[in-house]
Amino acid sequence: MFDYLQYVRQENFPHIWCSGCGDGIVLKALIRSMDKLGLSQDETVMVSGIGCSSRTPGYVDINTLHTTHGRALAFATGVKIANPDLNVIVVTGDGDATAIGGNHFIHAARRNIDLTVLLYNNYIYGMTGGQCSPTTPRGAYASTAQHGNLEPPFNISGLAIAAGASFVARGDVYNVKKLETLIGKALQKKGFSLVEVVSPCPTAFGRRNRMARPVKMMEQLRDTVVSVEKWEKMTDEERKGKFRTGILKDIEKPEFTAEYAKLIEKMRPEE
């Protein structure tokens, strides 16, 4: 048994997420990785935007900042630059980070500022009742795509890689142990690190797409997730309908707050 209670704000439970929502599973994986790394609760800040996913901070007993829709990365950038000693974790959704907050997302990645971003991708706007998001698959149904979605989706991890993030991984809530490992790696990375977590929304996405039962959504994850290692050996035909999880990028490059510290050092008047 893992003792989650020392890390959560029990007074706020049961949490607001629906039955079978993946968000609670991600939160647990995060707590276990924080525990494994011995992150200080006093020195860790969690920043989120608006959405079901962004309600995560309310449940974690650390410094928490629930901001405006799409802007979590901007607030987090301020926190981290003002006090680089703090560990800053950003929790956001597919809509929060890649629709309204898309600009902040690519620029935080480009800047390579030391933030750990957990992006809960449920392919939908959960909180507002199931409208299309930038990751809703083509042809899927949403309350604003009742004839099927016409738009092609973003590949979020691909976007972060292209924008300059130093660590990018994708995980899912069926393969929870792997998810925990990926989050741990992201937390340790000095630089912009993203874990895109595929996290089912049975209520707003599942119900419209023949997966109303949470178990059904978990089964779908089980059947469509492929590790990056295996993916490499698959043919295009075999890859159809599947997606890969694992570390997609992990490089070393100058990190913003470290570079800024050097600038301050250089500016210091000589004694």
């Binding site: 048994m1 439970f13 049961p14 997420w17 079978g20 609670g24 647990k28 929870v176 039962r213």
Partner: protein, 69 residues
Amino acid sequence: MAGEQSASKKPAVITVNTVWCKGCEICVAFCPKDCLEMEGGKCKVARPDDCIKCMLCELRCPDFAITVE
């Protein structure tokens, strides 16, 4: 360690917090030993003796509602 091994042979104590459980059935559906069942919309520990302490139910419960010791 020998001590640990004997500890893991102790029968599992599976606890469900029925106030927090929202009855999603995830734990029930993916238990490799079929130890759990649904009853009245909540998870019920039906066959604890079969439990192999794989911890998957605890790891995947979205509601922090089931623990295995």
